[in-house]
Amino acid sequence: MRISTEWLSDYIKTDLTSEKIVDKIKLHTTNVETVEKAGQNFKNIVVGKIEKITKHPDADKLVVCDVNIGKENVQIVTADLSVQEGHTVPVALDGAVLKDNFKIKNRKMRGIESQGMFCSLEEVEVEEKSEEVYKIKENVEPGTDFVEYFKIRDEIIEIEVFPNRPDLLSYTGVAKEFEVNGIGENYKLPEYTEVTAEEEFPVIIEDNNCKRYSAAIVKNIKIGKTPLWMVRRLATAGIRSINNIVDITNYVMLESGHPVHSFDLDKIGDRIVVKKGTKGEKVLLLDEKEYELNGEETLITNGKDFLAMGGIMGGELSGISDSTKNVLLEVAYFDPVNTRKSAKYHKISTDASYRFERGVDPEDAEFVMGRLIKLMTEIAGGECSNKMTDIYPEKIAKKEIPLSYKYLLSRAGTEIKKEEAEEIIKKFGFEYTNQEEGWIIKPDTKRPDLVQSVDMVEEITRIFGYDRIPAVLPSGTTFQGDGNNFFKFKNKISEIIRGNGYHEIVSYSFMNINNMWAEKSEIKLLNPLSAEYEYLRPLTVYGVLESVSYNYRNQNRDVKLFEIAHKFEKDENGYKEISTIAIAATGKENPYDYTDKRDVSYYTLKGITDSIFEEFNIKADYVRSERKGMLKSQTADIFVEDKCIGFLGLIDGEISDKYYSVKDNIYIAEIDAEKLFEYSKPMNKENKKIDFPAIKREYSFMVPIKSEYREIKEIFLKSGKIVESVNIFDIYKGKGIDTDKISITVTATFRAPDRTLTDDDVNKTEEKFLGKLNEMGIYFREK
């Protein structure tokens, strides 16, 4: 809500500067979005009367005006041909300052002296955009200071209005709030005509979503221009002047917070019938669009013809036009939920629907109608009987809210004196009665947000001042903080991966389905931002790969990244999301170490997954795998206890290039962190006996390429209890080795728990595993 301080001064007096006002609003009421100052530097703009217009001798598109500015006449040359003799206009004289500090000086226009310039409302910052010079309608003496007279100088404070505070969508509501929070005093409603409830026009309510409908008639109005003060005030709210009748309804809505409607009495027939729409029926609204009804809308009709969609928008055919003479004024109360449903259904949001959805005051019809009548008769010259039809089948009563003083203190957490609390309740102007334990409060009907005790606690404490509440730790239950094991587990994994030089990233969970070159998502957003963000990713590594690609395309060829995040799946039990570890890398293994020329490889990546498994004492098996988009030569699935928990390997170069514009090898891994957590076990330290010395031996083998190290290791370990461990020392393939072979050098450690081993002991075991290896076609490598 944009609040013009000039306008607000009609309802409340304050001595505070706008800075102080803003501080108080923020401390006690709501957020302040912006503060705009309008016309602060304006000067030397006066009201002028055009007495004579002559053609410019040398320019068809210019005219020369003789303008009375009070004590003298000046000559103004203008290109705006809408001006006529007799018009009263704002004139910026020599030395004048306008919007954006635009300065006016005497100058010659095509050889003719111009002593200033006529202004449009845009130039004096009243309107965003103006077509022509503004013609003043009011009877103002030439020479009058335009800015002073029309109160152009203003400060506009835009406040955030929370959905529970519809009262702050009105000047009277804001003024009342400002009286309560100490910004000003002497709050008063604007003047309005006393109206009596008496049948003036037949109204029938058939839909109980309309709780109240009041109607009055103003006759013989003159449609015309709206006075500048009202045009300007509406403009501060971003509402453009249309004509005096429509402007007055908007003005009263902003004053009271209650949206009202005006019908052309001569177009609507002989009665108002409020009823539900018929499904499939088509209606034409003021925005000149046709809407097909769903049958739940509250319609304003005359029994047969559609007139307006209640609380949302008027109909095209019943609206005010230039020829309107007589007006039917509507002040009604529409149910918030039903209004919202209809507005949402038709995708319409108007100032009216916005307010009805949040709840207007059902009890203010006399004031609102009286104010409308007063302005209509004063400004548009209408006549009114000061009677209104008022159909209000079931009075919406004030709520009664009990508030115990003890409860207030227990929630606030500080000593608020009882008298001070009561003083605040009084300031709100709410009816209340004293009870032994506290109060029973009856808030105004314009505050639908106040329902239960706790709502009153908020009202009293915020006015009391949150800054007066001391910060104290609770003294109740003592809690034992727990880091949550899975969370700690993921942090540890992150640490291990980072230790290998991989950066942690965060990428979007949604992506384009066309970029899913392996698993495809089945989870689609109904309302995505765009196709780029349409599907939830079924593999976390897709996101990591996008980031690898982004860096690679930005000239960084060495990229090692990982992410721990949810991937999304759908099965017959519904949606599943699984915390996964995703790793992707290309380029150098140690890009900042120029002495290390190694590229990232299957083995370097497996080094990471192996360290994770070791850290959590998990026995994992790597099984060669044929995955879509991956190269079989360097890809494995990872199994733990016979369940596949992930994979690692090399992406097919065609995929790397096509999807990521990466011309080098990209290695990736993706592991289910939840399963990993399930299988993790604390380290068993006791089987590591190192009391007796070990014997280490190195063996170089020529291995047929389809054999796997896993089998070799198994043979070693099963050949005798003294085999403590086997580790790869070197794997070599290439020069000097047949293409169907691979050379593997291992170091075996032998140790007995109870004695010092002899060479003989080892030789015996060695014989066993060498025999088994020979059976598999694995022999010592000849030097």
Binding site: K26, L27, H28, T30, N31, P163, N164, R165, P336, R340, K341, E357, S410, R411, G413, T414, V454, D455, V457, E458, R462, Y466, I469, P470, A471, V472, L473, P474, G476, T478, F479, Q480, G481, D482, N484, F487, I497, R498, G499, N500, G501, Y502, E504, I505, V506, Y508, S509, L525, Y550, N551, N554, N556, F562, F568, Y575, E577, N590, Y592, Y594, D596
Partner: protein, 337 residues
């Protein structure tokens, strides 16, 4: 003898100047001092010397031996030194060249702030709980006192998967799931990804991270909330920070607060970061709304609560001086490092 002696020394010197390595020197040494060397021969010659001159002869040979040994030793030292130098040249490095760095991967700033936030609250006795990102509307809205047709639903533009599933718009749904599983007293924190249909710009992202806290006990008030948040802000940004609660609205709390901390950039004097207000808005909080307690079956007469929600990106941007939120999701190594 004297003549002989001078000749031997001269010859030795001639020989030794040509020598380049220890092996050759050893050979020379053997030639002069070895068992079959010149000195031995001279010593053997003593029998042919007049008996009265023998003592003299012996002394002369000994002094010759000494002189030879000195020359050889000196040469040995010289060779050793030069060989060491050669070795050094072979292993010469440019001591000013760049070190061969092995870098550690960086923590993502969002994750770093999240982990630090957890740390602060677990130290205060809170337990970490986690939740799903695909949520049911009841948990995300209805249970949190935001029924279907409440205008407050407009505050959060929501991504839907189908009628019954959406991407959570806040981590607050975890509050509900926790309260439905555990009886009070409760003190939990949760954090993770949240989603709102916002166009991606410098201060908005369709995906962002929240950190959520919930505390339920018999007596919980505004002062307690203030204290928890004060501790958090001071641990996160610095011990001099002050906390300011301002009125705000979130359907699931009452009263609801927007929480400011004194500007971390100017300390409260006013600067461009705080738009000259001296305060920076960092999070939302409030006392748990009695309707929420009722929705999960807790008696609001008996139990009270406080809750807070922190935008992780906001904290990270303030703490690390990042002006554009998009930087946090680009994962640009130049930025990360």
């Amino acid at each position: 003898m004297i003549q002989e002696k001078d000749r031997i020394i001269r010859e030795l010197n001639d020989e030794i100047t040509k020598i380049k390595d220890i092996q050759e020197l050893q050979n020379v040494k053997a030639k002069y001092t070895g068992k079959k060397g010149i000195l031995t021969a001279l010593m053997k010659n003593i029998s042919s010397v007049e008996p009265e001159n023998r003592k003299n002869y012996g002394m002369e040979v000994n002094s010759l031996k000494e002189e030879i040994e000195n020359i050889i030793n000196e040469k040995t030292e010289e060779i050793k030194k030069s060989e060491k130098e050669k070795q050094e040249m072979k292993n010469w490095v440019d001591v000013t060249a760049d070190g061969a760095k092995k870098i550690s991967g960086r923590e993502h700033l969002i994750m770093k702030v999240m982990r630090e936030s957890f740390e602060i609250f677990t130290n205060l006795g809170f337990t970490v709980v986690e939740g799903n990102e695909i949520e049911e509307p009841w948990f995300n809205f209805d249970a949190l006192n935001t029924p279907k047709w409440h205008p407050a639903r407009d505050m959060q533009d929501t991504f839907y998967i189908d009628e019954e599933h959406l991407l959570r718009t806040h981590t607050s749904a975890v509050q509900i799931r926790t309260m439905m599983k555990h009886q009070p007293p409760i003190a939990v924190v949760s954090s993770g990804r949240t989603y709102r249909k916002d166009e991606i710009d410098a201060t908005h992202s369709a995906m962002f991270h929240q950190f959520e806290g919930l505390y339920i006990d018999k007596n919980v008030n505004v002062g307690h909330l203030k204290k928890f948040l004060e501790i958090y802000a001071q641990k996160m940004f610095g011990s001099n920070l002050k906390v300011l609660l301002r009125p705000s609205f979130f359907p699931f709390v009452e009263p609801g607060f927007e929480v400011d901390v004194s500007c971390i950039s100017c300390g409260g004097k006013g600067c461009s970061v705080c738009k000259n207000t001296g305060w920076i808005e960092v999070l939302g909080a409030g006392l748990v709304h009695p309707n929420v307690l009722r929705n999960v079956g807790f008696d609001p007469e008996k139990w009270q609560g406080l809750a807070f929600g922190i935008g992780i990106e906001r904290i990270a941007m303030l703490k690390y001086g990042i002006s554009n939120m998009r930087e946090l999701f680009k994962n640009d190594i130049r930025f990360i490092e």
